[in-house]
């Protein structure tokens, strides 16, 4: 059942990305282009997604799950060098390619040189991160 829920969640997530335009690199780069013709779409997507998630989290935090252990009781507030460096590098890559992991996997449903090569590049980056010693993480 957990596997079926995860599949349905992924499917709904992908449709949400698609109808909101988030699979288009131009929309991401347009959102990041604050000095140019700023595209507010990504902000609209966040304003749609975050409140829904917040309500679910608030109602169920710390509670047992029907198909899993439990909803985490606390959020992670830790700030460290790894967060700043990692998020900083992620942002540079996001501004260059206009794609993040969710859209990259979803776009692979339409195989083309661009969609497959950017997904492959992301997978290489994820694999390389395993080389960073755990102590440094």
């Amino acid at each position: 059942m957990k596997v079926a829920i995860a599949f349905a969640s992924g499917l709904l997530f992908a449709v949400g990305l698609g109808v909101s335009g988030m699979l288009q690199p131009a929309r991401i780069i347009g959102f990041l282009d604050f000095a140019g013709a700023w595209d507010p779409t990504l902000l609209g997507v966040m304003c749609g997604a975050i409140p829904v998630y917040f309500v679910a989290w608030s109602l169920r935090r710390g509670r047992a799950c029907r198909w899993g252990a439990s909803v985490p009781a606390r959020a992670n507030h830790a700030l460290d060098g790894r967060l700043f460096l990692g998020a900083g590098l992620f942002g540079v890559g996001w501004g260059l390619a206009g794609v993040c992991p969710g859209p990259a996997v979803t776009n692979a449903a339409a195989p083309a040189t661009f969609t497959l090569s950017v997904l492959a590049a992301i997978l290489v980056g994820v694999a390389l991160s395993a080389l960073v010693p755990a102590r440094a993480k």
Partner: protein, 134 residues
């Protein structure tokens, strides 16, 4: 903007459903990493989530083909370097747009809020610099 809110609502619903029913976080970079690593005990639901993303992509290709990416937004070296940085940075920083952005901020996480602010800032700087170079 209506479609942005609607799409965002679906994304929030998808992530919230996974959280409430299974206790898991819909952070795509962490899911990809677990699948690549062959993470014990978590592998099957993570593979199923990624298969769901691709299935959703197939539904879009069938009903709304213009939603899918058409081609690269920049010259190839930028795109490939960008992809590698996205994958590497997301894992080093422990999250991407879904994990830090939606699920992190959505549970009032300071880590998620700071991560999201940092990657929007460096992304904006990158876009600005590339335009200056062009």
């Amino acid at each position: 903007m209506g479609m942005a809110l609607l799409g965002g609502g679906l994304i929030g619903l998808a992530a919230a459903g996974l959280l409430v029913l299974t206790g898991k976080t819909a952070g795509v970079s962490g899911i990809v990493e677990g699948v690549l690593r062959g993470e014990r005990g978590e592998w099957s639901w993570k593979v199923a989530f990624l298969a769901g993303l691709v299935a959703g992509g197939l539904v879009l290709a069938w009903r709304l083909p213009t939603a899918l990416a058409a081609g690269p937004p920049r010259a190839w070296p930028w795109v490939i370097a960008g992809g590698v940085l996205v994958g590497f940075g997301a894992r080093l920083g422990g999250g991407c747009t879904s994990g830090h952005g939606v699920c992190g901020i959505g549970r009032g996480s300071l880590r998620g809020l700071v991560g999201t602010t940092v990657f929007i800032a460096t992304g904006a700087l990158t876009v600005w610099l590339l335009r200056r170079l062009a």
